[in-house]
């Protein structure tokens, strides 16, 4: 297999979509927060909590979907904490976000150790299995790559459509965009800026929690402390790449997944000559280049990171 033929293997595209799935959830979540004017750097920790909460729920004997719901709730809880600190209290969004990441990831591990004090190897659960969509999965190429994924991957794509529809077509979406662009004008329209911002951060964080849970319930079957491994930070960049639009963010996540799946295969092909570090760098380097190309015209939400105080001039 050489550099070009790898691109035409369905396995590559299937892997790209698998790798992209947690990023799609997390990027959507971050996008929702930022559209409402709040940057959420708690993302990495919230994903860790989601990964843990979802996994431990299933490990405790509940169903996989119960795990997904619990992961979303756990993510929402930490999102609420972030929202309360930065929206009504107006604290620095950067500092609070980093604080949330440290707190959330440490608490996840703390509860892991409380729940399982004496294990020698991480316990496993039975994760989501790939589910072939009837009819569509028989399509040549596309069927193999796209329609033989796990249910959570399909959910990720559904969420993209849902968030895009919410932002573009509903009064609630308009309110979210308004509080992120011009909260004073939104207030004048009778919109409760504080409530909408808190709601958006909580909902976005729930999506991040599910993104984390993808790793423990679908991509893998046990929980490891550092397993989010920077995927949250990537998602923050992907929001910029997507110019704060769900559809474009989806493209960004898929592109990153593709780069990563591609480098894994290139590494097998040329690993003897080129140091492996260069391949590991590849998806990040390509993402930065793509970011530079795309984000030059990107217009960020005007009120991003600006706390809103009612009545302030």
């Amino acid at each position: 297999m050489d550099v070009i033929t790898i691109l035409f293997t369905t396995a590559l595209w299937a892997a790209a979509i698998r790798i992209a799935s947690p990023l799609i959830f997390a990027t959507l979540g971050e996008l929702l927060c930022e559209r409402a004017g709040v940057i959420n750097l708690g993302i990495e920790g919230i994903m860790t909590v989601g990964a843990f909460a979802g996994w431990i729920t299933v490990y405790a004997g509940f169903g996989l979907w119960a795990g997904v719901v619990v992961a979303a709730l756990a993510g929402a809880l930490f999102g609420l904490l972030h929202a309360v600190l930065v929206v009504p209290l107006g604290l620095s969004q950067h500092v609070t976000g980093i604080g949330i990441t440290l707190l959330a990831s440490s608490l996840a591990y703390y509860f892991y150790r409380l729940a399982l004090p004496e294990v020698t190897s991480p316990p496993k659960i039975e994760p989501f299995q790939p589910w072939a969509v009837p009819g569509l999965s028989d399509l040549p190429f596309v069927g193999e790559a796209l329609f033989r994924q796990t249910p959570l991957t399909y959910l990720a794509f559904v969420m993209v459509a849902l968030v895009a529809w919410l932002l573009a077509r509903t009064p609630l979406g308009l309110a979210i965009k308004a509080v992120g662009e011009n909260p004073a004008a939104a207030e004048a329209q009778g919109i409760n800026v504080i409530a909408v911002r808190i709601g958006a951060v909580v909902a976005g964080s729930a999506l991040m929690g599910v993104g984390g849970a993808f790793l423990t319930l679908s991509a893998f079957n046990s929980f490891f402390f550092d397993m989010i491994n920077g995927r949250g930070w990537i998602s923050v960049a992907l929001v910029v790449f997507g110019s704060w639009r769900p559809g474009k963010a989806l493209v960004g996540a898929l592109l990153f997944g593709l780069f990563d799946a591609y480098q894994l295969r290139l590494q097998q092909w040329a690993g003897a000559v080129v140091p492996y570090q260069l391949f590991l760098m590849l998806p990040y380097v390509l993402s930065i280049i793509a970011l530079i190309l795309v984000s030059r015209r990107a217009a960020y939400p005007r009120a991003l990171m600006v706390p809103y105080h009612k009545g302030e001039r």
Binding site: A15, R18, Y109, S121, A219, F220, F224, D226, W269
Partner: protein, 340 residues
């Protein structure tokens, strides 16, 4: 990060600083305390105790504790930036034997040992002991003997002659085992093609799994599972895997064909004996991980016992005997393995 034996309170801080002030005298009391009772051991790990490598140390320490030889406390998931502080805290708290891993904090760990000359340090390290630092002994998982034997099995079991290997980082303790494994494979099947990949993380099983899947796509029908996640890919695609350091046969009965196990017990027991005999010095404890010392072994084949051809098992048994008797030595090669 958990620190079961140490809580920071104002009182504790005052006590700690008082202990620091009394440091020059600390040696006197602890030397007196050393004579009787179990040895107070403290371990400082940079990863959770579930991590393969550390789990073996943890297990050996618990065995020694159950035997009454040591009192055992540990801190897991200590960041490298925090590592020196935690070591010093355990020294201040009067622990006589400090076990840890200094792969990324070599200078700091040695500096601590220098400041506490009456404590014994048994530290995982890629470097050699230094005679000038008499209380700092090193160990590592020198289980190349067992890895070589798994290579013999793998060479016989691969049909496509294409083996995938996924590692965390190419550091000596990883490279050594991969190279020994490859040497074993080549002895049985010289024209085997190896795909070697590193994922740049110790804890990212989904990534390790994706890497392994890519290797299977490229034709591998047997995987060397240095990381968690690799055996899962093998199981999913119904190919074989070879385990490393821990025995995962019962988790993957259809997948894991052989495993090289590390036993830390001989290393720890030698250190305990040395401390009791007051002869602990800057030794290289790496040799206690050799097969001759009982520091490593080939895991039982389990469900593959009837599948592996008898002549392969005979060859493995023969080599194992030769290694134990000293007639055959597996080469120690710490260079980074490359794809072929």
């Amino acid at each position: 990060m958990t620190l079961p034996s140490f809580r920071i309170s104002r009182r504790g801080l005052i006590k700690a600083s008082a202990a620091g002030a009394l440091m020059p005298f600390a040696g006197l009391t602890s030397r007196a305390a050393r004579a009787e009772g179990p040895i107070k051991m403290a371990a400082v790990y940079t990863v959770p105790v579930e991590q393969q490598w550390v789990s073996r140390i943890h297990q050996a320490a618990n065995t020694a504790k159950a035997r009454g030889d040591i009192e055992y406390v540990f801190s897991e998931k200590v960041a490298n930036t925090d590592y020196e502080r935690v070591m010093r805290e355990y020294c201040e708290a009067g622990h006589q034997l400090i076990v840890g891993e200094a792969f990324a904090v070599e200078d700091a760990a040695r500096a601590v040992a220098k400041d506490y000359p009456d404590r014994a340090f048994l530290i995982g390290s890629s470097f050699k002991p230094d005679a000038a630092l008499a209380n700092f002994a090193v160990f590592d998982n020198y289980i190349q003997d067992a890895s070589y034997l798994t290579g013999l099995v793998a060479g016989a079991m691969t049909k496509s002659g294409n083996i995938g290997m996924v590692g965390g980082y190419p550091i000596p303790e990883v490279n050594r085992l991969m190279n020994a494994f490859m040497a074993g494979v080549k002895e049985v099947k010289p024209d085997t093609k190896f795909q070697v990949a590193f994922i740049g993380s110790w804890f990212d099983p989904p990534k390790a799994k994706e890497t392994a899947l890519a290797q299977i796509d490229a034709g591998a029908d047997l995987l060397y599972a240095e990381r968690f996640g690799v055996s899962d890919a093998a199981k999913e695609k119904k190919v074989l895997a070879v385990g490393n350091v821990i025995d995962t046969q019962k988790d993957y009965p259809e997948t894991v064909v052989a495993s090289a196990l590390w036993h830390f017990e001989p290393t720890l027991d030698a250190a305990i004996a040395a401390i009791k005999a007051k002869s602990f010095k800057a030794d290289d404890y790496g040799q206690y991980s050799f097969m001759k010392a009982g520091g490593c072994s080939l895991a039982p084949f389990g469900s593959f016992d009837g599948v592996i051809p008898a002549e392969v098992k005979a060859k493995v048994a023969e080599k194992e005997a030769a290694i134990k008797s000293g007639a055959f030595t597996v080469a120690i090669d710490d260079s980074e393995p490359k794809s072929s």
